[in-house]
C-alpha cells in the first residue's frame, strides 16, 4: 500500500456555526462539494454523507485494505485519511470504476465492467466479496504502475489487502488475466 503524500496545509472553507467545512474534490470524475467535519475521515464522508457504501471497512486502523480508494491515482486506506486532506484532489472509489469502463474494456457484456472487475468475475475471485472493492482498487493502481506485473509484483501490490475467504489464488489469476486484457484487448 502506498501512503498518500498529503500536505498538512489544507485549503478548506472557514468553519461555519455547526463546525462543518466545505470539501471540494473530484469524485469519480464529478466535481463534488460536501460539508464535512474536519476531524472525520474520507471513509466516513464517502459512506455516511455521500452514501457511497462500496468502500468497505473491516478494521478502520489501516490494516485490512478494505477501504482502499484512489486519491490522484494512488491507493490509500480511506480510514486513515482526514477528509480535508483530499481537498482539490481526484478520488476514485469502486463505484467509479465501471462507469469509466469503455467498450474495449469489457466487450460484449450486458453489464459493462472495468477490465479488473470483469477479470475478478471470470476468475471466480469473489466469495463473500467484502474485500473485493478494496482489492480491485489496489489492483487497478498496481496495473497503472506496472502493466505486466510478475507474480511477486502482484503479491507486493496486493499485500495490504486482506481476504479471509479465497486463499488469494484466484485473485492472483484475476489480476494476471486483467493485465493481459488491458495490454491486448480482445
Amino acid at each position: 500500500m502506498i501512503d498518500g503524500n498529503f500536505s498538512s496545509e489544507t485549503e478548506t472553507e472557514p468553519r461555519s456555526g455547526d463546525g462543518l467545512v466545505q470539501l471540494r474534490c473530484t469524485l469519480n470524475g464529478e466535481p463534488t462539494q460536501v460539508a464535512v467535519d474536519p476531524t472525520e475521515t474520507i471513509y466516513d464522508t464517502l459512506r455516511e454523507r455521500l452514501r457511497l457504501t462500496g468502500t468497505k471497512g473491516a478494521c478502520l486502523e489501516g490494516e485490512c485494505g478494505s477501504c482502499t480508494i484512489l486519491v490522484d491515482g494512488e491507493p490509500v486506506t480511506a480510514c486513515l485519511v482526514l477528509s480535508p486532506q483530499v481537498e482539490g484532489k481526484s478520488l476514485t472509489t469502486i463505484e467509479g470504476l465501471a462507469a469509466a469502463a469503455s467498450e474495449t474494456d469489457d466487450p460484449g457484456a450486458s453489464r459493462r465492467l472495468h477490465a479488473v472487475q470483469r477479470a475478478f468475475v471470470d476468475a471466480g475471485a469473489v466469495q463473500c466479496g467484502y474485500c473485493t472493492p478494496g482489492l480491485i482498487i489496489s489492483a487497478v493502481a498496481l496495473l497503472e504502475r506496472t502493466p505486466r506485473p510478475s507474480l511477486a509484483e502482484v503479491k507486493a501490490g496486493l499485500a495490504g489487502n486482506l481476504c479471509r475467504c479465497t486463499g488469494y489464488m484466484k485473485i492472483i489469476d484475476a489480476v494476471m488475466s486483467a493485465a493481459e486484457q488491458i495490454a491486448e484487448p480482445a
Binding site: 468502500t55 469502486i94 479471509r164
Partner: protein, 782 residues
C-alpha cells in the same frame, strides 16, 4: 441429466449469482443498509472478566447529549438468556459478569458517537471475583465457580475394545501432548445491521448462519411470539462459524421494538473480537500403541477444551472431538475422555473444523512420532493403517466410501511434476514414486526443507441423533420462471449458486435463469444452519427432491395438455416437447402454468430432507450412524525452515479432497484454497493471547491473519468418489480444507527439523525452542 444424458449444470463452473454486484460495490452488507438518519445503538460491556455486579446506574447515560434511550434487562420482556445448545448466556448481565465484554445494556442515540459517549457514561459498581484464566485454574481444588453449577460444562467419551490392555501389549507406545490456541474467525464484514418495526413485526436485518433458529432465540429473549420476529439476512461477508452465536440481533430488535423507529448497530473490530466466541483452545494427551510392523492397536486420549465463559456450541464441539479422535485410521481399541471447562475467557464456540481440527493435529502428530520411533516411512505407515471401504471409524460407524488413501495418492502424485515413465500404472504406484522422489535440496545452509502429509476425515452435518434437516420450496412462477425458496444463508460459500445449479439440473433449465429467494424467515422455509459442511448435502438434496417433483408435475400436466404419454416428452430450457414427431407438439412453462394449476398440479413443492442419525451410546460413545456421511482429505505441505530463527516459509500445499461430486468445480477449488489459507493462519500465526481473561491482541494490528504474501501456491485437487446420500454424489467441502492443512504444515516442519511440533501456532519462537530443546543444554529451551 439432459435428454442426451449429459449434465446441464452439474459439474460446471457456473458464475455466482451475487458476483457482479460484489465487484461493482453495489452489494449492501449489514453495515451498508442504513445511514446516519437512523438512531445508533451501542452496547455497554464489562471491563472485568469476572465480577459481581453491585450496582448499575444508567442515568448518567441518559443525560448525554443525543442519547435517546438506555435499555437494560428490565426492558427485554423475555428470558434474558440466549445460547445455541444451553441458554446460559444473559443478554444483559444482572448479578455477575463472566468475561471481559459481557453485555449489561444498550444505549440508543442520534449518532454513533453519542451512543458511544452514553455507553461510557454508565456507572457500574463491580466487586471483582477471582479470575479463572486457564483450564488448570478452573479444575483446581477450591476454584472460583464461573457458573453456579460448577466449572465443568460437559464431558464425552469413547470406549471401544480395551485400550489399556492393548497398550500394555503393544510393541511401541508413543505419547504426545498437543496444545491449540483460540482463533478468531476474522471475517471482514463486521457485525452490523439494522432493525425496524413493519406491520407490527420486528424486522431485523443482520447476518447469522441459521435465520430460523436465530429468530427463535431472539423471540425467547424478547418475550415475543416467534412470528413477530422477521429476520432478513443481508449479503454476508464471511462467517466460518463466527456468526452462529447471537451477536447484535437481540439488541437491534429490542431497540426497534421499544422506540418504534429504525435503528442500526455496527461493532468495531475490537468489539467484535472481544465479544464474539472463538475457536476452542484444547489440550490433548495422545497415546498411541502399535505392533512392531506399525499396525496401530490402541489409542488413549484425554481432551480438555476451554469453553470460555458460556456454553455456546461447546457440548457438540466436544462430541465432535471425541468422535473424530482417531481420524481416518483403523483402531480397534480406543479410550477417549473429553471434558469441557468453563473459564473467564471469551466464550468459545463454532469455527470451521470445530473439534475435528484440534484432534487432527493430535492424531497426525502422534502418528508422525510413531513413524519416527519405528523408522518407518510416514506414507507407508499411513497406507497400512488408513481405513478401507466398509471398515469402522472411531465410533464404529461403517464407512462405505473411505477415501483417505485415494486422496493421499492423488495429492502425492502431484508432488513430482515430472514422474518417471516407469513409475507405475496405478495412482498408488505413481504416488509412491512421486513421494520417494521428493527433494531435500536447500537454497542455503540455514534453510531446511521438509514435507508433511496429512490424512483426515470429517463427519458432515450435526449428526448424533439431532433432527437435522433442510426444507426447500420449488415453484414455477406465472411467468414460467423456476423459483427456489430456501432459508439457507449465503455467507460467501456459494450456496445460492449451488441451489440454482441443482434446481436448474432437475428442471432442465440454465442455472442462471433460476431465481433464488432466500434467508428470510417470513418468506422461506427453514433449511438449517450454514455450518458443519452440511448445506450441499442437506439443502442440495431438499432442492433436488422438490425440483424433481415439480419436473414430474410439469411433464404429467404437459402430457395431458398435449395428449401424449409422459415418456414421449422431453423437458429443456423451459419447453416441454414431444421427443419425436413433427416437432409441433410442445408447450412452454409459461403457457403451461395456469393450465397445470387448473388441473390440480400445484407446480409448487416443499420438500424436506432429514436423514436419520443415531446418538452415541452414553456408556461407550459408539454409534452405527453418528453422521450421515464422512468426507476424507489429504494435504501435502512443503516448507523451508530457517534453523537460525525458527521462521517457516511454506513453499507449496497440495490439497486433495473427495467431495463426491464437485457441483461447481471452481467454487469447490475456491473453498479448498480459502480453507488452506485459514489453516496456514492457524498453523503458523493465529493465536488469541489472553492474560487473566484479558485479550491482549483484539485488533487486526495485533492479531495477524495470512496476507497474499503468506500464502504459497495451492494445488487444489478434486477427488470424486460419489457419496451414497449426497445430491449427484456430492458431499460438501467447507471444513476439511482447514482441518487437513494444519497437521500437514506441522508435519513438514517436523520433517525439516527432525523433531515433532505439537503446539499451534508454530511461531518462529516456538520452533526455535523445539530446535534448542533437543540441543545438549536443556536450559536453552527456557
Amino acid at each position: 441429466m439432459s435428454a442426451d444424458g449429459s449434465p446441464l449444470n452439474i459439474g460446471r463452473s457456473v458464475e455466482r449469482p451475487d458476483v457482479v454486484a460484489k465487484v461493482t460495490g453495489e452489494t449492501r452488507y449489514g453495515g451498508d443498509l442504513e445511514g446516519p438518519e437512523v438512531l445508533s445503538v451501542a452496547v455497554i460491556r464489562s471491563p472485568h472478566p469476572h465480577a459481581k455486579l453491585t450496582h448499575i446506574d444508567f442515568e448518567p447515560a441518559r443525560a448525554v447529549a443525543g442519547v435517546v434511550a438506555v435499555f437494560g434487562p428490565d426492558a427485554l420482556g423475555g428470558t434474558n438468556l440466549h445460547g445455541l445448545i444451553r441458554r446460559d448466556h444473559p443478554v444483559f448481565c444482572t448479578d455477575k459478569v463472566r468475561y471481559r465484554g459481557d453485555a449489561l445494556g444498550i444505549v440508543v442515540a442520534e449518532t454513533a458517537a453519542a451512543a458511544a459517549a452514553g455507553r461510557d457514561a454508565v456507572v457500574v459498581d463491580y466487586e471483582p471475583l477471582p479470575v479463572i484464566g486457564t483450564m488448570a485454574e478452573a479444575m483446581a481444588e477450591g476454584a472460583a465457580q464461573v457458573h453456579a453449577r460448577g466449572n465443568v460444562l460437559a464431558s464425552a467419551l469413547i470406549r471401544k475394545g480395551d485400550a489399556d490392555a492393548a497398550l500394555a501389549a503393544a510393541d511401541h507406545v508413543v505419547t504426545t501432548t498437543t496444545h491449540t490456541r483460540g482463533v478468531d474467525h476474522a471475517f471482514l464484514d463486521l457485525e452490523a445491521g439494522c432493525a425496524r418495526v413493519v406491520d407490527d413485526r420486528i424486522e431485523i436485518h443482520a447476518s447469522g448462519q441459521w435465520v430460523h433458529e436465530e429468530r427463535r432465540l431472539i423471540a425467547i429473549a424478547l418475550g415475543e411470539p416467534v412470528e413477530r420476529i422477521r429476520i432478513i439476512q443481508p449479503p454476508t461477508g464471511g462467517a466460518f462459524g463466527g456468526r452462529e452465536d447471537i451477536s447484535i440481533q437481540i439488541y437491534l430488535g429490542l431497540a426497534a421494538r421499544e422506540l418504534g423507529v429504525p435503528v442500526r448497530l455496527q461493532y468495531t473490530r475490537h468489539e467484535s473480537m472481544i465479544a464474539r466466541h472463538k475457536r476452542h483452545p484444547m489440550e490433548i494427551e495422545y497415546t498411541l500403541g502399535a505392533r512392531a510392523d506399525g499396525t496401530i492397536t490402541a489409542a488413549k486420549v484425554v481432551i480438555r477444551s476451554d469453553e470460555g465463559a458460556y456454553a455456546s456450541t461447546g457440548p457438540a464441539v466436544l462430541r465432535k472431538s471425541v468422535s473424530h479422535a482417531t481420524g481416518p485410521y483403523r483402531v480397534a481399541n480406543i479410550h477417549v475422555d473429553g471434558v469441557a471447562v468453563f473459564t473467564n475467557n471469551c466464550p468459545t464456540g463454532a469455527m470451521r473444523g470445530f473439534g475435528a481440527c484440534q484432534l487432527a493435529i493430535a492424531y497426525e502428530g502422534a502418528l508422525a512420532e510413531l513413524a519416527r520411533e519405528l523408522e518407518l516411512d510416514l506414507v507407508a505407515l499411513k497406507r497400512k493403517n488408513l481405513l478401507r471401504d466398509g471398515e469402522g471409524i472411531t465410533t464404529n460407524q461403517v464407512i462405505p466410501v473411505a477415501s483417505a488413501i485415494d486422496c493421499m495418492d492423488a495429492a502425492l502424485a502431484r508432488l513430482d511434476p515430472a514422474p518417471t515413465p516407469d513409475s507405475g500404472s496405478t495412482l498408488a504406484d505413481r504416488a509412491t514414486a512421486s513421494w520417494a522422489a521428493r527433494s531435500y535440496a536447500s537454497p542455503a545452509p540455514h534453510l531446511r526443507r521438509g514435507y508433511g502429509v496429512s490424512t483426515i476425515c470429517f463427519g458432515i452435518g450435526y449428526g448424533d441423533g439431532y433432527p437435522d434437516g433442510s426444507r426447500a420450496r420449488v415453484r414455477i412462477s406465472e411467468a414460467g420462471v423456476v423459483e427456489v425458496y430456501s432459508g439457507g444463508v449465503e455467507v460467501g460459500q456459494g450456496l445460492h449458486g449451488l441451489i440454482r445449479q441443482i434446481a436448474g439440473e432437475e428442471l432442465r433449465v440454465d442455472a442462471q435463469t433460476v431465481e433464488v429467494i432466500a434467508s428470510d424467515t417470513l418468506t422461506t422455509p427453514e433449511s438449517g444452519s450454514s455450518s458443519a459442511t452440511r448445506q450441499t448435502l442437506f439443502t442440495g438434496n431438499a432442492v433436488k427432491l422438490a425440483a424433481g417433483d415439480v419436473r414430474r408435475q410439469l411433464i404429467d400436466a404437459a402430457a395431458l395438455e398435449l395428449s401424449l404419454h409422459w415418456e414421449e416428452l422431453d423437458i429443456r430450457d423451459g419447453v416441454i416437447r414431444a421427443r419425436e414427431g413433427d416437432g409441433q407438439a410442445h408447450i412452454t412453462f409459461a403457457e403451461l402454468v395456469a393450465k397445470a394449476r387448473a388441473r390440480g398440479f400445484a407446480l409448487d413443492v416443499t420438500a424436506l430432507y432429514q436423514p436419520r442419525t443415531i446418538p452415541g451410546d452414553p456408556y461407550t460413545g459408539l454409534s452405527p450412524r453418528a453422521f450421515i456421511t464422512y468426507m476424507f482429505a489429504s494435504h501435502v505441505a512443503e516448507v523451508l525452515v530457517d534453523v537460525d530463527t525458527g521462521e517457516v516459509r511454506v513453499e507449496r500445499i497440495i490439497a486433495a479432497h473427495d467431495v463426491g461430486k464437485a457441483i461447481n468445480p471452481r467454487e469447490v477449488r475456491g473453498q479448498i484454497e480459502g480453507g488452506v489459507a485459514q489453516g496456514l493462519g492457524m498453523a503458523l500465526m493465529e493465536e488469541i493471547v489472553s492474560e487473566a481473561g484479558e485479550m491482549l491482541n483484539a485488533s487486526f494490528t495485533d492479531y495477524i491473519i495470512p496476507t497474499i504474501i503468506d500464502v504459497p501456491t495451492i494445488d487444489a485437487v478434486i477427488v470424486e468418489r460419489p457419496d451414497l446420500e449426497g445430491p449427484y454424489g456430492a458431499r460438501g467441502v467447507g471444513e476439511p480444507p482447514l482441518i487437513a492443512t494444519v497437521p500437514a504444515v506441522l508435519g513438514a516442519i517436523a520433517d525439516a527439523i527432525g523433531v515433532g511440533v505439537h503446539e499451534v501456532p508454530a511461531t518462529a519462537e516456538r520452533i526455535w525452542q523445539r530446535l534448542h530443546q533437543t540441543a545438549a543444554e536443556p536450559e536453552a529451551a527456557q
